[in-house]
């Protein structure tokens, strides 16, 4: 008997007990669907985070005012330190080699913005000349700020894509005047569309020179020219390491710290963020593997159980087949294929449920899901492996039946 015929016989055997077969498959269906849905959710989350990280710009080194180490205990610097300021940022740009640019940002409170014909309320961000380059946001029209603008505290503004449309519609905003809060600014540029990165909408912004932001849009008496984060773009992935070393040395010198002191700043890269992220998703994924493994195991035991019942029920049939010439290997193959077909059909239904479930989950919740092809292949292969593994014992038992006793079986 060839495999095709065996498959047909197996299918007939399954089709006779439709409800029972379906219930038997349920474990496999749930297992496979769970793998696909959960891997889809985790892949979707990862993709969102990866996008957010990539959206920061490329080859980024980030320097934040320190809050690491010490646990905020007495003597630790923590938030009480001066941290980073505008001057630190400028000197990184002047003295560190192997970098393309340095940017510090100051996100001010949202402001009322008025143009000739419209009024909106939006975020005002203080930025530096290298902002478009370092943060990967392109300029659509006009120009960005120069260092001169910052030095002279020029009253200029660059509009985000959406902001420009809201204020001026189709008209050219370049050279127009707007009032932000109570400061009058001249529009010198418009940014290209960037869209939503994480929860930040880059298009809904107005950029002003950082020094102007310090003076006019923040509570400068309290914060002075302190900045939260300095973004440094390395020339290439190869210069990231040396740039970090130089930044560290430079900032320690400026902050009068020795190499032994704990730094009042933290330097990290996108790679560090990704690593942290991967550690989290790795733990999540191994949990998923356990869940999937357990459901497939339970599904497999279900298949074994029902196959044993089936062998007993069909003892007479086995005897008949043996009498007309079925060898033990033929009988074994028949029941093995039957178990395999059960698990594969279960696997297929599981894939359907999983893909559909992922889609539904993505539609109905704010979590993003991605159908991972490898998860489908993995889940399907696992189902097949489960079928063969748990089908073998019943199939072997069937093949070892004595034809005389099998024929006598009622």
């Amino acid at each position: 008997m060839n495999l095709w015929q065996t498959g047909q016989v197996a299918w007939e055997g399954i089709a006779v007990n439709k409800v029972r077969s379906l219930l038997t498959m349920l474990g496999i269906i749930i297992g496979v669907a769970a793998v696909i849905i959960m891997m889809g959710v985790s892949a979707g989350t990862e993709a969102t985070i990866a996008e957010r990280i990539a959206g920061l710009g490329s080859n980024l080194i980030m320097v934040s005012r320190g809050f690491g180490g010490g646990g905020g205990g007495p003597g630790g610097h923590g938030f009480e330190s001066e941290g980073l300021n505008y001057e630190d940022t400028l000197s990184i740009g002047e003295q560190v080699s192997g970098i393309n640019g340095v940017v510090a940002e100051q996100i001010a409170m949202s402001q009322i913005v008025r143009a000739d014909s419209s009024t909106i309320e939006t975020d005002v961000v203080g930025a530096m000349p290298d902002f478009p380059q370092v943060r990967g946001v392109k300029l659509a029209d006009g120009r960005f700020f120069s260092q001169q603008d910052l030095d002279r505290k020029a009253k200029v503004a660059v509009l985000g894509h959406t902001t420009a449309q809201e204020l001026f519609g189709d008209a050219d905003p370049i050279g127009q005047s707007i009032t932000v809060g109570n400061v009058r600014l001249t529009v010198v540029g418009v940014m290209d569309e960037k869209g939503l990165v994480g929860e930040t909408d880059y298009d809904q912004r107005i950029y002003v020179p950082l020094t102007v932001a310090f003076d006019r849009f923040t509570m400068s008496r309290r914060f002075g020219d302190r900045v939260m984060t300095v973004y440094v773009q390395a020339e290439s992935p190869d210069t990231i390491e040396s740039a970090i070393t130089e930044i560290d040395a430079l900032l320690r010198r400026r902050h009068e710290l020795t190499a032994m002191d704990q730094a009042d700043f933290t330097i990290y890269t996108q790679g560090d963020i990704i690593e942290t992220q991967e550690a989290t998703t790795g733990a999540f994924r191994s949990l998923l593997a356990w869940v999937a493994g357990v459901s497939l195991l339970v599904g497999g035991i279900g298949i074994m159980n029902i196959m044993l019942v089936s062998v007993t029920e069909r003892t007479r049939e086995i005897g008949i087949r043996q009498a007309v010439g079925a060898a033990p290997s033929d009988i074994r193959l028949q029941f093995l294929v039957e178990a395999l077909v059960l698990s594969l059909v279960g696997g297929l239904i599981g894939v359907g449920v999983g893909v559909g479930g992922s889609w539904l989950f993505g539609r109905t919740s704010d979590m993003r899901t991605v159908v991972v092809w490898s998860s489908i292949v993995l889940a399907f292969c696992s189902a097949a492996a489960v079928g063969i593994f748990f089908g073998f014992f019943p199939a072997n038992r069937a093949s070892q039946l004595d034809p005389i006793e099998a024929l006598r079986h009622e």
Binding site: M1, Q5, E12, V16, R316, E317, G319, I320, R321, Q322, A323, V324, G325, A326, A327, P328, S329, D330, P403, I404, L407
Partner: protein
């Protein structure tokens, strides 16, 4: 040794061991030639079923030799015995033993499916099965399932199944045990017809009327052949 279809020498079959051992067969000798129609008779417990199982290669003797078509089959393993059953032996059982879910045609095709020597195409298998069903007068009932047929018809399907692989030997174990008189006679007539066309048939029965219709009667008592050892 090769001139006989079946030659059995000093066949013994012992069930169990020690003092509780049962000697179902105790030195059976038997010779059957090609083309014979032999009835094996005996009371229950005489060992006729054991003889039948061993002749049918469903079981192996504890001791002794069994040559079938010149081949010593008493020492073969399970897979080899399965192959012998498939090629050389056609069974007709008292309780028909048809696959309940399959049509008459599919039941008759079953031995062809397990054929290892000859791989026939699906259409060839179907053709052979139809011919076998026609030979037993069921050419018009090929698509019926066993539960849609009378006992006599079911037994004829079983005979067609036994014939389809052109075996050396047809073994009928109480073929009429579940049938009424007229169906019984029908089945025996078919077996006699096959015999007339040259088939070798061994029929096991405890009914003297049926046994009398065979050419030769082999009588078993307490695991020994007491009459009809040779033709």
């Amino acid at each position: 040794m090769n001139e006989h279809l079946i030659e059995v020498q000093e066949l013994t079959k012992v069930y169990g061991a020690g003092p509780a051992a049962v000697h179902a067969l105790d030195g059976v000798n038997l010779i059957i030639d090609e083309g014979e129609f032999v009835a094996i008779m005996g009371a229950s417990g005489s060992g006729k079923s054991t003889v039948m199982n061993i002749l049918g290669c469903l079981d192996r003797p504890t001791d002794g030799q069994y040559w079938l078509g010149g081949e010593d089959v008493s020492k073969l393993n399970k897979a080899q015995l399965a192959d012998i059953r498939n090629r050389q032996i056609g069974f007709v059982f008292q309780s028909y033993n048809l696959l309940a879910r399959s049509s008459a045609l599919k039941n008759v095709m079953l031995p062809l499916m397990y054929s290892r020597r000859e791989r026939r195409s699906a259409s060839e298998r179907e053709k052979l099965a139809r011919e076998a069903l026609e030979a037993v007068g069921l050419g018009d009932r090929t698509d019926h399932r066993p539960n849609e047929m009378s006992g006599g018809e079911q037994q004829r399907v079983a005979i067609a199944r036994a014939l389809v692989n052109e075996p050396l030997l047809i073994l009928a174990d109480e073929p009429t045990g579940n049938l009424d008189t007229s169906s019984s006679q029908e089945v025996v007539d078919i077996l006699r017809g096959l015999h007339e066309r040259g088939r070798t048939i061994i029929m096991i029965t405890h009914e003297p009327d049926l046994g009398a219709q065979a050419e030769r009667i082999v009588t078993l008592i307490d695991g020994r052949v007491v009459d009809g050892e040779e033709g």
